[in-house]
Symmetry: C2
Subunit: 342 residues, 2 copies
């Protein structure tokens, strides 16, 4: 257990440097208006004593913490099992580190904890927030708005038309889904099903829309709701085979869903792609490469999206707010990656 008493004080630094407390304070907060020899003496004293300025007090003056919060609106159990989040965090971490900003990941057990997250955001501990995986009925966006910290969202927020004040980074979910379904049509498939993600997320709703764009009015039994997890994909695929034994293609809303669907197809003796073609979404590695057979999928550059989110936020912070030349949202294109399943 560390001993709080041993921490060197501002007074100790002042005594060591032979200057006033006010001088030390000015140097620690940027050194404006202090002569260079004095700055040097204070810096040496700070170093010798291992003095760490009290940032809570200092930040009341400078209003900067060089720290950015990341909030993923999912329970921590999902954050550590879906490689999507690790990839997005990797992009964010690289970008923040390159600018010497601390990544502060606020973990929760679920939605009940979001008010506490908002309190932390409002508490003056971070300069801004990166928020992703929002669900439509989640109070988090409102709470974050109330917290008053600059925020960039991952994925188009669903509570507005997405064209107003919210800045976000997303991929072209609808266009990517259209590519996938068009590819299945091009293979001559006629009974093309879609296993959706959680439809209270815009990514899942947009992918469903892309499926509908290409398929038009279709047998409603070919669309099965799921939740972006392998277990959900297994359940949905089982249901689909029971309802529509003649299904000959599946567009799964993400790779983990496709992974579950492939398992059930194998168990039920359906050959992939001969009997049923399968396409996923995300291209999260190693998942997509290591499925049996390797997965054809719609690639989005998840790490790059994380990097862009961080870059947009940092540029906003550097300008001191969103008022002038506010950055606009970014929507990245997707690519169909052909492997063995379609």
């Amino acid at each position: 257990m560390s001993d709080a008493v041993s921490r060197p004080t501002l007074e100790a630094v002042a005594a060591r440097a032979g200057v006033s407390r006010a001088t030390v304070s000015r140097v620690v907060n940027g050194g404006d208006g202090v002569r260079e020899p004095l700055v040097e003496r204070v810096r040496r004293a700070v170093e010798e004593l291992g003095y760490v300025p009290n940032q809570a007090a200092r930040s009341l003056v400078t209003r900067r913490h060089d720290a950015v919060a990341v909030v993923i609106a999912e329970p921590e159990t999902r954050i550590f099992t879906d490689p999507f989040f690790a990839l997005q965090l990797r992009g964010i971490s690289k970008e923040l580190t390159a600018h010497d900003n601390q990544l502060v990941l606020l973990l929760t057990e679920g939605r009940d904890d979001h008010a506490r997250v908002a309190r932390y955001l409002a508490g003056g501990h971070v300069d801004g927030a990166l928020v992703f995986s929002l669900h439509l009925d989640d109070p988090l966006p409102g709470l974050i708005e109330g917290a008053g910290v600059p925020t960039v969202f991952g994925g188009r927020p669903g509570w507005s038309d997405g064209t107003d004040s919210a800045v976000y980074v997303d991929c072209d979910n609808r266009g990517g889904a259209e590519d996938a379904v068009r590819h299945l049509v091009g293979l001559g498939r006629t009974r093309i099903a879609h296993i959706t993600g959680p439809l209270d997320q815009t990514s899942a709703a947009d992918r469903l829309q892309g499926y509908r764009d290409v398929m038009g009015e279709t047998d409603p039994r070919l669309v099965v709701a799921s939740d972006f997890t392998p277990t959900g994909g297994e359940r949905a695929m089982g249901e689909l085979l029971d309802r529509c034994p003649d299904v000959d293609a599946v567009f799964a809303a993400n790779d983990l869903t496709a992974l579950g669907a492939l398992r059930v197809l194998r168990e039920r003796g359906r050959r992939v792609p001969e009997d049923v073609a399968v396409i996923g979404f995300d291209d999260v590695l190693p998942v997509a490469e290591q499925t049996e057979p390797p997965l054809t999928t719609v690639r989005q550059d998840i790490e790059e999206m994380g990097r862009l989110m961080a870059r947009l936020l940092l540029s906003t912070l550097a300008r001191g707010g969103p008022a002038t030349g506010a950055p606009s949202s970014v929507v990245l294109p997707t690519t169909l990656i052909r492997r063995a399943t379609a």
Copy 2:
């Protein structure tokens, strides 16, 4: 982008409640010395306006943030690929959430970022810290000491004899390793190898010590250094088979190492356990259950260790410091789990 201007102020709450700023401030900070009807009026105004107190200012008074930092002294890439960390975080998250404390995970790209982590810890943003996966030559412990926040460590710290002021939670690494190696001896194996973890971590050093306790003086070629990763395990197993083709058992320092070793044994046509018996350490699921064949391993209750770390820290904070009745470190027992590899 949220609009910072829209955030309701203390003044607005005071006006709405028809009281002074000082009264609002007192109520927000606990309500001492304010008459109940006034407290009620302020509370109603706070609720109606959605006022969120500025915690940076408030915490200068109360000195509590209800937030605990978690620092894992590994780059984020490892945190998201080794299930050990997810399990430990799960235990920590459950315990902190149960006490309405925010888990603040400080991610880094590596050791170069540890000074920044220490600045954040010293900055008055958290009440305490849980720190794990320390390496011997890491400056982090010293930096944390300097930051002056109460800290509980995961794993016995290596920079002291571990019996002084540092509070930690660990498992019986040495005893667990002894059990594993004794089991291999009991199976009649005579050429028992050990693939170590990174020996600048006490967990790895203690497991090697346990191996030596049972084996005594042994062929030095039977001990190969590695790094707790599957790739490291592959490399070490390859080396081991080249050096000692007669090896008939391997105690791997963790399950991921064993996973890599099993891959190479399969590639080289060695049957497990007939030709080479293998034992891991950790029992991280689903890894240990899904290896081919399922892995015999030394189980430590990682989630419970996380929970205990959080509990020790919260009890220290509740007492206002480590001075009186300081909690002592905890070392949990391990259990040998027999599956198919030994």
